[in-house]
């Protein structure tokens, strides 16, 4: 009986101190990059366990607030309402760490002759004021808008920084994930979409001008770093408090030259 009790106690203690995986949940834009970072990190640190899932930046931050993930991946800064919830539940302001930069690319079908757009044109296209490609130098055909669901950080970032807070046109079709947007545009000669610059299969990036006087650029390491490409953003990992344990080791590694190389290999841009 005594032995059984001790065995049970040891089992309980063992399970209590067993290595718990670090969970990362959130941005669909970041999910491929995070999975690659986690995979490479775990190969070098076999004792560490990092689990990566998507769902959108809003979903990841909600999970951080209700305590079901250790790290939220977000392609936009945390909102004040989300910070308020963290304050109320955990008495913390949260900690955000930028691990990569992204140039938010404008996807056009490979057969679309339009090569460049200004921010004002993009705003007018996505708010529904411009509805025909001929108004922006293309052929006489309707513009088919592809967008993201509203839990997406990319959706929010684009709305805040390109649409300047205005509402999307009700004609915009919402799709789950950047890959779905790229896929839709690659099959629709009149389509336009937006998303991370790491996704580019079957589409071409429109050059984007800040205004009529400035030059147009596509998102590249140089143009994003130099601040020339006008729609660039940071990609963040958010935690409830300063990281420790495996989470800290993983984030430190992400910010190292080795981690930043993975970021670049995936198609995003390093923060350092």
């Amino acid at each position: 009986m005594k032995k059984t009790f001790i065995a049970l106690l040891l089992l309980a203690a063992g399970s209590a101190f067993a290595a718990k995986p670090v969970t990362i949940k959130g941005s669909d834009t970041m999910v491929i990059m995070n999975a690659k970072l986690a995979e490479t990190f775990m190969r070098k640190n076999p004792e560490a366990q990092i689990q990566v899932t998507g769902g959108g930046s809003g979903v990841g931050l909600a999970a951080l607030i209700n305590g079901t993930t250790d790290i939220a991946a977000a392609s936009r800064p945390i909102k004040s309402t989300e910070v308020d919830k963290l304050k109320a539940r955990f008495a913390t302001l949260g900690v955000g760490i930028a691990i990569a930069r992204d140039g938010l690319a404008i996807y056009l079908n490979a057969a679309n002759p339009v090569q460049e757009l200004s921010l004002a044109q993009l705003r007018d296209i996505y708010t529904g004021r411009i509805t025909n490609w001929k108004d922006v130098g293309g052929k006489d055909a309707p513009i088919i808008l592809y967008s993201r669901e509203n839990s997406s950080g990319t959706y929010t970032y684009f709305k805040d920084n390109v649409l300047m807070g205005k509402d999307y046109s009700p004609r915009a079709q919402t799709l789950q994930g950047t890959a779905a947007v790229v896929n839709a545009v690659s099959k629709d000669v009149n389509g336009i979409g937006y998303g991370g610059s790491a996704y580019a299969k079957g589409v071409h990036f429109a050059k984007v001008r800040k205004d009529d006087k400035s030059a147009a650029y596509v998102p590249t390491l140089e143009t994003v770093r130099a601040g020339q490409y006008p729609i660039s953003r940071y990609l963040y990992l958010y935690l409830r408090a300063a990281p420790n344990g495996d989470a800290k080791r993983f984030i430190d590694w992400c910010l190292s030259a080795e981690g930043q190389k993975v970021v670049t290999d995936v198609g995003y841009f390093p923060v350092k």
């Binding site: 305590g67 079901t68 909102k79 109320a88 539940r89 008495a91 913390t92």
Partner: protein
């Protein structure tokens, strides 16, 4: 012996024949035409390969079905349903074994469903919202929240007009959900001055200066939701302005109104001033996981209906609370609250126990089981000042589930 040998031989012969019969496949029927082989039969059974047009047609049909499904899901996603149930056991020292009506029972030691709510939010566009929150209780269904909202899209302030039944925009604790609260009930000052926490009216709110400043201002009946009608013509004003400065949030609230109360000298009702001023703060301390909250309210409270002549006046009232909440890891929370309410801080009312100041010291432990459920154990010690302190401490064990 010969007979036995003959029977044995016959038996062995029969068994052998039987075994052969099982091993040998049945002979094919004798026909003149050659029979197709099994593989050929399988090939013949397979339908012909679809043409490119047929495949494209099927794909179109699937795409159409998917688009319809997507549209349906998109429409459904505009409706958000949330809710919670608070199931609890309360042990109250003031409980008395006595037979009486359900509404007047003096026994408070019981299992109960403190609140059971489902909230429906429908948002077709970012600028308008419909919110309905009924409460389902054993006594029936009542409306807790029912309002429509319009948010202007033209400025960064996102000024919002709310019309219907909603929380009084005063202080912090009123709008802080029961499903999130760290002690079973709101502080006594909040419960007394803002019963049911809601009123009917119209509200304007906004958030600006980089989300650092927020305001809410409302015109309301002033009767709360416990009364069906507003008996006086005047409407009450209530509002709060708040600021957020990193770890510190502060707010100043103001309420001005009047209440019609039936008194002995005027049974049709006499108007009494109903005023409150408040200040609140919420602080995230440098100590990991420790938060502090506090609120101070003072004002004038109309008398109860048919109050004695010497009590028929708007009395000065004051009250406050202070919370300390310590989080330990993701699952554990400890909270302590001290609150006090003085229904006669101006000493104008008769010196009786009902008008005495009451202070409460409460503590709780909350275990967050998962993202939906938590268990709370709380004990509150009540102290009536200036009079014999009655036995009225309360123990609560609560299981809360929200989705």
């Amino acid at each position: 012996m010969k007979r036995v040998m003959a029977i044995l031989c016959l038996g062995v012969g029969l068994v052998t024949l039987s075994a052969r019969a099982q091993e040998t496949p049945p002979a094919p029927p004798s026909t003149e035409e050659p029979q197709p082989q099994p593989q050929q039969e399988a090939e013949a059974a397979q339908p012909p390969a679809p043409t490119l047009e047929e495949t494209a047609s099927k794909l179109d049909a699937l795409t159409e079905a998917f688009t319809e499904m997507h549209n349906s899901v998109d429409a459904l996603s505009k409706m958000r349903i949330t809710g919670y149930i608070l199931a609890q056991y309360v042990n109250d020292e003031s409980s008395v074994n006595a037979l009486s009506s359900a509404a007047a029972t003096r026994n408070k030691d019981q299992f109960s469903v403190r609140e059971a709510r489902v909230k429906f939010t429908y948002q077709l566009t970012p600028t308008s919202r419909f919110v309905l929150q009924p409460e389902v209780a054993t006594s029936g269904v009542s409306l807790k929240d029912g309002y429509v909202e319009f948010t202007e899209p033209w400025t960064q302030w996102h000024h919002t007009v709310t019309a219907g039944q909603f929380n009084w925009p005063f202080g912090f604790e009123i709008a802080y959900s029961s499903s999130d609260r760290e002690l079973p009930e709101r502080a006594r000052v909040t419960r007394t001055l803002f019963p049911s926490e809601r009123d009917r009216g119209v509200q304007l709110s906004g958030l600006g200066f980089g989300d650092r400043f927020n305001y809410k201002a409302a015109l309301v009946n002033g009767t709360g939701t416990l009364q069906t009608f507003d008996f006086n013509k005047r409407k009450d004003f209530v509002g709060r302005v708040g600021g957020s400065f990193g770890p510190l949030d502060v707010g100043v609230s103001w309420y001005r109104g009047a209440e019609l109360v039936s008194v002995a000298s005027n049974t049709a009702g006499q108007e009494f001033a109903k005023q409150r001023e408040g200040i609140d703060f919420q602080l995230v301390t440098p100590i990991r996981g420790l938060g502090l909250r506090g609120e101070y309210i003072r004002g004038k409270q109309p008398p109860l209906p048919n109050a004695a002549a010497n009590a028929a006046l708007a009395a000065d009232v004051t009250g406050y609370y202070l919370y300390a909440i310590q989080n330990v890891g993701t699952y554990h929370q400890f909270a302590v609250r001290y609150d006090a309410y003085d229904p006669d801080s101006g000493h104008d009312l008769p010196h009786v126990a009902a008008n005495a100041k009451v202070a409460t010291l409460g503590g709780s432990y909350i275990f967050h089981w998962d993202e939906n459920s938590k268990i709370m154990v709380a004990y509150e010690r009540l102290k009536t000042r200036g009079f014999a302190d009655p036995d009225d401490n309360v123990f609560t064990l609560r299981y809360a589930y929200k989705f």
